[in-house]
């Protein structure tokens, strides 16, 4: 791929001066998310972009010495380890390809195209406008989640889809139910086995929809607990549920026919 074609593909300047200025701003961190993602995508495809960025990384790196180190919270290593440990349970036995998964594959390809594509963490990927519960899915991990009381909210079913991503499907999205008090949201959490603090998976959509959590946010494992809490405003930003946890489910390995 020529530098010009690549520059055109990512809508980036093709001239050395323009490239160097944008590379410097990318390293400095002042670019907006969209421009930053386009530059990040160019790093892998073009030696000139890579060299320009590496030169700026080297030039500005000493500035890190101005930053005071700070002890990280104790549980972070456990959370990292949980995310990098593969689990054979997720290898799909009968991978299906339908438009849903093709859509996901395209999204995944776009995500792989650049560092900046990870910008929206934690992210909930909405795949389908409405749930389709007909027909058993060839999943290996299931975790029914039920409402604890009044059934004022829709119930959700958690499972792991053919790509190994955690998926939540609303169950019984009956009209009139699923109405949250004004100013409240449902927030999704995962508690990995042995962990003392949950992983924040983000706020669920207001309308009942199938939601997929990419593995780079959380890698589903057996015995992982999935929780949904009711939170005020835009959700808890503390890393833990602040409001009541109304839904709890544990992922268990199941065998499906076929």
């Amino acid at each position: 791929v020529s530098a010009t074609a690549l520059a055109e593909q990512f809508n980036l300047p093709a001239d050395p001066a323009g490239r160097d200025t944008l590379a410097a701003e990318y390293v400095l961190g002042t670019l907006d998310a969209e421009t930053s993602a386009r530059v990040a995508a160019a790093i892998d495809g073009d030696a000139a972009w890579r060299a320009a960025i590496e030169a700026w990384e080297a030039r500005l790196a000493p500035l890190v010495a101005l930053i005071r180190p700070e002890q990280a919270p104790a549980d972070i290593w456990d959370r990292i380890e949980a995310r990098i440990t593969p689990h054979k349970a997720y290898v799909p036995r009968a991978p299906r390809t339908s438009w849903i998964w093709k859509g996901w594959a395209i999204a995944a390809t776009l995500a792989a195209a650049g560092i900046g594509a990870f910008a929206l963490l934690p992210v909930l990927r909405q795949v389908l406008p409405m749930p389709r519960l007909a027909g058993p899915a060839p999943v290996h991990l299931m975790g029914p989640i039920v409402t604890s009381e009044s059934r004022a909210y829709p119930s959700w079913i958690a499972d792991v889809d053919a790509d190994g991503d955690l998926r939540l499907q609303p169950f019984r999205p009956v009209a009139g139910r699923g109405t949250l008090p004004p100013g409240h949201v449902l927030q999704l959490w995962a508690v990995l086995p042995g962990a003392t603090v949950p992983v924040d998976l983000g706020v669920l959509p207001n309308e009942p929809r199938v939601v997929t959590i990419p593995q780079h946010v959380v890698q589903p494992v057996p015995e992982m607990v999935v929780e949904i809490s009711v939170e005020e405003g835009g959700g808890s930003k503390t890393g833990r549920p602040v409001g009541p946890v109304l839904f709890v489910g544990r992922l268990v390995a199941v065998t499906t026919p076929n």
């Binding site: 410097a24 998310a33 590496e54 990384e57 890190v64 010495a65 290593w77 990098i84 890393g239």
Partner: protein, 178 residues
């Protein structure tokens, strides 16, 4: 707590080969430094924790891209952590938050800590040649991950001038001390 020179690069080579214990070793010696980097940008422990976690997952996945001949291991790790934190800052609407009250910041004129290394000394000398505003724009932009809007507020500049200040600063740094 800096590791001996070269030790981190060796650990990264083992990480690239899939050695989880080596990643743990990197975490042990680098997590405080990298958490500081994330905190300087996000100023919020839960968000900085997410950034550190994301940074180490990226280090795990991308360690094979690190080439010791092309750069310093500590610098590479800091870059991964900075971009993980910047991604979170942007997803929280950093660009829109230009009129919020600025939090505490480092002093952009206190650059003596840079003199610990030769490249740092060269950078310090280049920065000292700059006028105060372009110098502050580059140093605060890097350390605190500020957007152009936030830099405008921080430097009490008219709207739209932060980019010009940053570019002026960066252009001088490209040339280096002469």
């Amino acid at each position: 707590m800096p590791a001996p020179k070269g030790a981190t690069a060796e650990l990264l080579a083992a990480v690239a080969a899939g050695d989880r214990e080596a990643l743990r070793g990197v975490y042990r010696v680098q997590s405080a430094r990298l958490f500081g980097v994330a905190m300087a940008i996000l100023r919020d422990r839960p968000a900085a924790s997410d950034a550190l976690q994301e940074a180490f997952v990226r280090i795990w996945k991308r360690a094979r891209r690190f080439e010791p001949a092309r750069g310093d291991a500590d610098a590479w790790l800091a870059s991964v952590a900075r971009h993980a934190a910047l991604d979170i800052a942007r997803s929280r609407g950093r660009e829109a938050a230009s009129d919020g009250s600025p939090g505490p910041a480092i002093d952009p004129d206190a650059l003596d800590a840079l003199a610990a290394t030769d490249p740092g000394t060269r950078l310090r000398d280049s920065l000292r040649r700059l006028e105060p505003k372009p110098r502050a724009a580059v140093v605060l932009g890097f350390v605190h991950g500020l957007s152009y809007g936030e830099l405008t507020t921080r430097l009490s500049e008219p709207a739209g001038t932060a980019r010009a200040l940053v570019r002026r600063g960066l252009a001088s740094l490209r040339e280096g001390p002469s």
